[in-house]
Subunit: 330 residues, 2 copies
DNA sequence: CTGTTAGCGCCTTCAG
DNA sequence: CTGAAGGCGCTAACAG
């Protein structure tokens, strides 16, 4: 691999001069510059960002930790992030946490060891050991998806989105509204969205059967099973179901269809997230739209700001949402 | 940032000794080791992979160039890649080519400047300048998706998959089979799949109207428009349509539905790729299943092999496929 | 078992 | 305008 030293030798100048033309810093005679450029051309020399980073203490790399690769939300957020990172001359290294806190922490440390300039964490929980790990990190971290104490975060307005959607369902005249949520270790999705549902119900003085509130784990199958339990365990069936995730809603729809129930006539369904699937499924799914790309962009912006003006105070951005009424709810 | 030198000082040993316990190489007395470990613990020291890489000339980072972020195929392939990379102790840096050859080349160079150990290119074309860029690279490249000359590649069996599906359509009794393809700069999808369709048609001696073969650009909208053109321009409408991509097929279905045509009764549809959407859309889409995760894994394996046993000859792996008969074709 | 020495490839004072 | 010298954090001979 050809180095700056080789270029200097071939061009008959010092490494310093080569460095200067590389970074267009300081004065270089036109003569020297063109000689250096020519040699670079001929040799196909590519400066080592690695060595440069070691010296300058800036790698121009941002680490991004995803809960899982290859989920629609994660990749849409990553898309937004990559967008601004690329525009600002940063590269992105992706790390997969596979939904495990331990793995999240491990990836944080791994990225730190790579000396990335900053880390974006697509957060799925607020566990104390995670927060600890972030505190002990010497790399700035920005979170998205959960409101992490003391960590600059971009969050979705989970509570109001869920509450709004539930109210919209009620407004359609439904009084028996079922709910499919997820485990509570995911604060944003598991707790906040459920709270939105519960508060909306309480506000209109409706009572609910225990069996109307079921729990899944983000997979379609778990939505299917949750819906099945709801139907089997309830004395009176709900006339509408709100699932905190489109995928859960889709699973629920599958179960309902398998039972020969018509959506929305026998039972209406609403989800949250505006996944691609929600548009294409029949009947199309009423859901809440979150702008994941935008959220990713905002998060990246926030991180880069922090890098430039370090010592800034913690910030928090709450992303808005939009209710999308489609055919699964009338 | 605490360095190996600090640890050495605090533990009262030399940097070499610290390095040795870090890498568990060479002999270190239990006494020295525990002292070092303790200091590392106390200080939260994290060795710089960067400095290590500069010295060892191995970064344990693999670059992956995607045609676009946030498409289902890309992220499924990336998932497979990440899987084996992670298992083997590598990190993945993602680069987005945005479907532009120039950007692909730019990203190749950028990754080279980062001194990644290898590059996986999700290829979308075989343009000469791309091949040139790869040749001039000092980093091993493995391609997936296109059979790049002189480059170790993993490819899908595009020709036979398309031909098989077309034959399956013909076997159902259809004689007027339309086709929606893509631009030919994408050799695998644009040329090979079309050839499969044409050969299958020719083999049974069927003539086709020119208007039955339309072209899109991978988007659903373009599939919609292609289908519209096919219906508007043809003297006799096809009774079945094969689209080289599920997304195109979905777009075509949307157009057909908007015209009030029944699928598959009035016109049957088949796609290729087994996207998630294909399962959920109504009617469910008959398509060809490619195991993208597996392909990603094979590609990563291939690259890592090359890194270990360098100087290996070029290899080429052809991935198999599976026809999935669903409701959009009878 | 341990330390000394010498870089990896680059940038950055500091003198010319 | 240019170069010499030094060092970023780490590992790898080579001596002890």
């Amino acid at each position: 691999m050809v180095t700056i030293r080789d270029i200097a030798g071939l061009a008959g100048v010092s490494r310093t001069t080569v460095s200067r033309v590389l970074n267009s810093s300081g004065y270089v005679s036109e003569q020297a510059r063109s000689r250096v450029m020519q040699v670079i051309e001929e040799t196909g020399y590519v400066p080592s960002e690695q060595a440069k980073a070691l010296r300058t203490k800036k790698s121009n790399v941002i680490g991004v930790i995803l809960p899982r690769m290859s989920t629609e939300t994660a990749s849409r957020v990553a898309d937004g992030i990559e967008n601004v990172l690329n525009r600002e001359g940063y590269q992105m290294v992706l790390a997969n946490a596979n939904l495990k806190v331990e793995k999240e922490i491990e990836q944080l440390k791994l990225l730190e060891s790579r000396r990335v300039d900053g880390i974006i964490l697509l957060a799925t929980n607020k566990e104390e050991k995670l927060l600890d790990a972030i505190r002990n990190l010497s790399v700035p971290v920005v979170a998205i998806g959960q409101d992490l104490p003391d960590v600059t975060s971009v969050v979705y307005d989970d509570y109001h989105a869920a509450r709004d959607m539930t109210e919209a369902i009620l407004k359609k005249g439904h009084t028996r509204v079922g709910f499919i949520g997820v485990y509570e270790s995911d604060h944003a999705v598991g707790i906040l969205r459920k709270q939105g549902y519960k508060d909306a119900m309480k506000a209109v003085g409706l009572t609910t059967e225990d069996s109307w509130a079921q729990q899944g784990d983000f997979t379609g199958e778990s939505g299917y099973e949750a819906m099945k339990r709801m139907m089997n365990e309830s004395a009176e069936h709900p006339s509408a179901v709100f699932a905190v995730t489109d995928r859960l809603a889709l699973g629920a729809m599958e179960y309902l269809k398998s039972r020969g129930l018509e959506i929305p006539d026998h039972i209406a369904v609403a989800g949250l997230g505006n996944s691609e699937l929600s548009r294409y499924v029949t009947p199309s799914l009423t859901t809440v739209d979150y702008d994941y790309e935008e959220a990713g962009m905002r998060t990246a912006d926030l991180l880069l700001e922090r890098l430039n003006r370090s010592g800034e105070k913690r910030e928090k951005i709450v992303m808005g949402y939009r209710l999308l009424f489609r055919d699964s709810l009338i």
